[in-house]
Amino acid sequence: MTLSTADQPLKNSIVKPEESGYKSNVLQMFLEGLHQNDRSHLLDLGLISGDNINFFLRWVNKLSVCDMFYYLKRERRRRRPTGPLEQHFDFPPLAFDGILLWNLFDYVDNQTAVKLVQRCHKSIKPGGRVMVIAQGDPIAFPVLSTFAIGENFRLYPHPQPHMNLPLQRRQNREILTLLTPFNFAKSFLYRNGVKEYLFQRDEDSPISEESKDRMK
């Protein structure tokens, strides 16, 4: 079923996150795509989970992890800036075949989000894929959640209330605009309010001026 607008209200979206396990179509596509490459390198920018690390290492040859939420939390705890978030994204150009952005865009401002997208675009190889999850529904997901990966690509959100990060909800259209440097491939909206997107970098490289304008 295709929805007509990005802002269409969700029915039955109030669910307990721990009971809202769902099959992630995008995760399956994302990992099966990476699996085609014998030397695939995945970057996970989400909260650290040992189980997920081991899961991903069954699908890719090399996994890099950089917990961006650690820096967000640290900055919030100190109540003073610790420097721009994107400075921690200091990976070399063309390093990754895939980048996983669990729900980072739910917790960063526009300026930071744009810079993160630019860094991702620079660090991903041509043809590389970006998976984005947004849990923008503040009723179903009042706090940041991690995702445990279960059988058959089912994701089980686990609330992390101790993170205490302010939600910066983004509409579907805003996320698509934000990711304009990449080619849009797929997106899914689930009953629990989770939105998933799959993007891919062009075989050619730089961010066009048109894309930069649209991202502003």
């Binding site: 295709t2 099959k23 040992g50 059988e151 259209r173 080619n183 899914f188 062009d202």
Partner: protein, 175 residues
């Protein structure tokens, strides 16, 4: 005092605040589950080679090669080093690269930055990690007890078609 206990012909070890109950090494004789402790108030810069396990609670900078033994960076350990060991456990702060023949374990509260090559890895929630991880001798890449492996010999996935983003035209599909 220590010289009397271990003999003048023995290699020195680095130790401080040694608990009595620990089986701590004072010699270079063939080790049987022996371990050396670098205490909290000890700082070392240089290379360490050996054949017994090492616990670091102090500061260490350099290179550590204990190919058949365990290295533990304790909760108070601050280490900047290239590490080559059998098993590595990190509970403190470690910056550097690890090559482990066995397992790397990163516990809650640990802070690790660097690269890891190991046979297996375990990471507790609450650990900070900025790392590139490679597991050697993956027995069955892509095969998980929970997830069916992708079919073998599948064709490469073609690049996605570029689609313009049109405001109001929502591509989202409901599951």
């Amino acid at each position: 005092m220590l010289n009397k206990r271990r003999g003048l012909d023995k290699e020195p070890t680095f130790s401080s605040d040694i608990p009595k109950e620990e089986n701590v090494s004072y010699s270079s004789s063939p080790p049987v589950d022996r371990k050396t402790i670098i205490g909290e108030h000890i700082s070392i810069e240089g290379n360490i080679h050996g054949k017994e396990s090492l616990i670091i609670e102090g500061a260490m900078k350099g290179k550590i090669e204990l190919e058949k033994n365990q290295i533990t960076v304790g909760t108070k350990g601050r280490v900047e080093a290239e590490i080559h060991a059998d098993n590595v456990t990190i509970s403190g702060r470690l910056t550097g690269n690890i090559k482990a023949l066995g397992k790397v374990s990163i516990t809650k509260g640990a802070n690790f930055t660097g690269e890891i090559k190991a046979r297996s890895i375990s990471v507790e929630d609450g650990a900070y990690l900025k790392a590139a991880i490679e597991l050697e001798q993956e027995p069955q890449k892509g095969i998980s007890p929970d997830v069916k492996p992708p079919s073998q010999g599948v064709k490469p996935v073609p690049p996605f078609e570029k689609k313009p983003v049109i405001p109001g035209a929502d591509p989202i599909k409901k599951n």
